[in-house]
């Protein structure tokens, strides 16, 4: 029993890292009014580029950097299409997503089947030695903790700083923000690039730490889960993070149950993380006032400065 519990908690923390990084990035982009549906493709590109860089250089840090930069470049395509050429955000996001999946396959083609050493666990000294808790919570690589730190920083910046205020203002009414003299296109573009970089880091974690190998299609729909998490988490950092961890936990729980050999159809078990996460988030988010106050009003709308 304890074994299972440790397996689930420890597994959840690791399984959530890619989701949480990508979700935080997409959340910031959406808060500025940019609906980038290419998360899946950006994560895949980050995973492929991160893996190749880690194999070639032997450095995980450079792997994450490469993943972030490549996915960021991809999001650049989306940003240019939507803010400069005023293309439809939904169509551009889908196109960039598909492009990203193709790019990832091309980058990773010659590395399929190779492996890298997984990211080293941090040595947290006495914390890691605590029985059960130490094993569940304190024997992880640094990204598990950085994901949590990133969530706190994103929350703080969005809710407590002028920068966050500007992002939220741009997301509600780009034209009013423009009238006040804020560079709407620049803010939105920067938020999209941040989203790309974070998705790339999430993807790179998948291929260099979580399952240290590259296989085409390994992102396996996580990018879409991220998009759903943000909507069902009502664009609030803590709810989105909660949703990400819940999804991770149910995925692990499902694996354990399958291991127990219970007589539940495997299709239901495989679908359970999606179903349970959406039900829970939908139930806690049914307060319409909260949704109204937190959803970015201009989400999906292109903006052109005019006088």
């Amino acid at each position: 029993m304890t074994e299972t519990l440790i397996f689930i908690v420890a597994g959840t923390l690791a399984a959530t890292v890619p989701l949480l990084f990508a979700a935080l990035g997409e959340l910031v982009a959406e808060k500025s009014g940019m609906l980038n549906l290419g998360v899946e493709g950006m994560m895949a590109t980050g995973a492929a580029a991160g893996f190749v860089a880690a194999v070639v250089t032997g450095s995980h840090t450079l792997g994450f950097l490469a993943g972030a930069v490549t996915a960021c470049l991809l999001s650049c395509v989306y940003a240019i299409l939507t803010t400069i050429f005023l293309a439809n955000q939904v169509a551009s996001g889908l196109a960039v997503g598909v492009l990203g999946l193709g790019v990832s396959a091309a980058i990773g083609k010659n590395y399929e089947g190779t492996t890298v050493d997984p990211l080293a666990e941090l040595n947290l000294g006495p914390l890691s030695d605590i029985p059960v808790i130490g094993e569940a919570l304190f024997e992880h690589d640094i990204m598990v903790y950085l994901a949590i730190v990133a969530a706190i920083i994103v929350w703080y910046v969005l809710q407590r700083t002028k920068l966050g205020l500007i992002i939220r203002a741009v997301g509600e009414s780009p034209s009013s923000a423009h009238a006040l003299g804020y560079p709407v296109t620049l803010v939105r573009g920067a938020c999209v690039l941040f989203g790309g970089a974070m998705a790339g880091i999430g993807g790179a974690y998948l291929s260099t730490a979580y399952t240290p190998l590259w296989a085409e299609g390994m992102v396996a729909g996580r990018g879409w889960i991220v998009v759903a998490l943000i909507v069902f988490g009502s664009w609030m950092v803590h709810r989105v993070a909660l949703g990400a961890y819940l999804f991770g936990a149910v995925s692990l729980l499902e694996l354990s149950i399958q291991g127990l050999g219970l007589d539940i159809p495997s299709q239901i078990l495989s679908a359970s993380p999606y179903i349970i996460t959406i039900i829970v988030l939908a139930v806690i988010s049914r307060n319409p006032a909260l949704i109204l106050l937190n959803s970015p009003v201009s989400l999906g709308q292109t903006f052109k400065a005019s006088n």
């Binding site: 002028k162 205020l165 203002a169 923000a177 009238a179 003299g181 109204l292």
Partner: protein
């Protein structure tokens, strides 16, 4: 003394119209200077030039004695020119302090203190941590004014600030503006409401067709003389027919309760009223008190469950569960306050827009459009209401607000309604067109139509309505005969006091004729 702002020979030409034609204007510190004119007289263009939004074709601007070119609004603000907009530019999901922090240097915490201090000093009662979405229109305007003051301007431009306020809020606003002027701020007050300008301003520049037609001290003028300068002639007085020709109940609401989906919208509580054939009933109240839900429930845009269908009745038939088309067939027609997008399709031509509500009246046959009939229908409405446009093939969005409103009102009237519901009939409509629309509503009443008018403009309601209700926070007051009340009493009811709606003393005989005592202005 050097004027704060001096405009000389300001001229701006647009492709089809000379918006400003050699306008001179001086504003001094401590002065409340009115710029008076109809819609389309060139007021907005002039303000856009001063605020750096539009570039003049010729003329010079001097700011505190130095010639300047104002490049953009940010430049205007840095010079010390602040503007309070007619249409609010606040972010609804943010708090008051956050909104102000976007425009003023300083942290949210620091600004909260400054907001409270300024709010105290100028009587602008508003909470810094409140979300704008939850604020009333009057409160939002106070936020705009606070935001403007905290940017430390020397000149404040107020663009039609009273159009959305209750009489009591207007009085409060005037106190604030007078306090600001006393401290040396210069104020440019844009308006077309003559009595307000006479009560508040010490100088007035009157514009007509882009030219200055008067430069006066409004305290020494009458509303009539100002109106002459503004429109170049006397306004026709609205004529009422006989009072007691009221007939059958046409529209009835019985204990209507309704909670809109939007959690910030006002819920309706036990709303009951009736409109009879041959009368105009007015609903006064500051917008945002439930008028939107009420008009949607009457028009059929918002439907009730079948079990509640008796709450709305046309000719004593329960219709609460019916949609707008079914109600239109029963004779209820509706003119909404949004002309573009609700009353008309912006990109469609006027004759195509005739179809929106007229498709059941011979404009189409077996699903095919009858273009000839559409064109004739649109053409006769255009002639009938003197709609200035390029003919029935012009797009709705190419018309000015006043002309499109005349077209939409004309369209509904031509469809021979039994009940006409009209919301904000003269919003953003110039004085001349407003007079035409009001007279048509009165004519309609005299022909035996039941007319329900929802309006924020009290002068308008006093001019045309036989009875008045007031809406406040989702409740509807009992009705009072217009002749038995006055602006003060209705104003009190607009803040929730429904118990004292009529004037206690017997009404003087002279006030019985048209409108009510105490009503002055271009419309009155």
């Amino acid at each position: 003394m050097t004027p704060l702002l001096k405009l000389t020979g300001m001229t701006k030409v647009y492709p089809s119209v000379i918006a400003n034609d050699g306008i001179d204007l001086e504003v001094h510190p401590g002065q409340i200077h009115a710029v008076l004119g109809e819609n389309g007289a060139g007021k907005s263009t002039l303000m856009k030039i001063i605020y750096g939004v539009a570039e003049p074709d010729s003329g010079t601007i001097e700011w505190q004695g130095t010639p300047v070119t104002i490049r953009n609004p940010a430049h205007a603000r840095s010079l010390g020119i602040g503007m309070v907009f007619q249409h609010f530019s606040l972010f609804e999901t943010l708090t008051v302090a956050e909104n102000i922090a976007l425009a003023v240097e300083g942290s949210v915490a620091d600004l909260t203190k400054r907001i409270e201090a300024a709010a105290d000093r100028y009587g602008l009662d508003v909470r810094a941590d409140a979300r704008v979405k939850a604020l009333s229109v009057g409160e939002r305007q106070r936020v705009e004014i606070l935001r403007c003051i905290l940017q430390d301007p020397k000149l404040i431009i107020m663009d039609e600030p009273t159009s959305v306020l209750s009489p009591q809020s207007i009085a409060q606003l005037f106190e604030t503006l007078k306090a600001l002027a006393a401290e040396g701020y210069g104020i440019l007050f844009i308006s077309h409401k003559l009595d307000e300008i006479r009560a508040l301003c010490d100088t007035a520049t009157v514009l007509r067709h882009g030219k200055v037609t008067g430069r006066v001290d409004p305290r020494e003028e009458t509303s009539r003389s100002l109106a002459r300068m503004m429109i170049g002639r006397d306004l026709p007085q609205a004529r009422h027919g006989a009072v007691d020709t009221v007939g059958e109940e046409r529209l009835g609401l019985f204990g209507l309760d309704f909670t809109p989906e939007d959690p910030f919208a006002v819920a309706l509580k036990d709303v009951s009223m009736e409109v009879r054939a041959g009368e105009i009933v007015g609903i006064a109240g500051v917008s945002g008190n439930g008028q939107d839900a009420l008009t949607r429930l009457i028009s059929g845009e918002e439907r009730l469950d079948a079990a509640q269908s008796e709450w709305v009745q046309i000719d004593r038939e329960p219709v609460g569960h019916l949609g707008p088309a079914r109600r239109r067939r029963l004779g209820l027609h509706f003119v909404p306050e949004e002309r573009l997008g609700r009353g008309a399709v912006p990109a469609h031509t006027l004759s195509e827009n005739a179809l929106l509500t007229g498709h059941g009246s011979g404009l189409s046959k077996r699903g095919f459009l009858n273009f000839g009939a559409m064109k004739r229908f649109a053409g006769s409405t255009i002639d009938d209401f003197d709609v200035r446009c390029g003919g029935s093939a012009s797009a709705a969005q190419s018309l000015s607000g006043g002309n499109l409103q005349k077209y939409i009102v004309g369209r509904e009237i031509a469809l021979k309604p039994k009940v006409l519901l009209i919301s904000q009939p003269t919003w953003g409509v110039d004085v001349g067109a407003a007079a035409v629309i009001r007279q048509r509503l009165i004519d309609l009443r005299d022909e035996g139509v039941a007319v329900l008018v929802v309006s924020e403009e009290l002068e308008e309601l006093f001019e045309i309505a036989d009875r008045l209700h007031v809406m406040f926070r989702g409740r509807l007051s009992p009705s009072v005969r217009t002749a038995q009340t006055d602006i003060e009493h209705i104003g009190l009811a607009m803040t929730g006091d429904f118990d004292h709606m009529s004037v206690e003393e017997p009404v003087p005989a002279t006030a019985d004729e048209a409108g009510a005592p105490g009503v002055v202005g271009a419309h009155g």
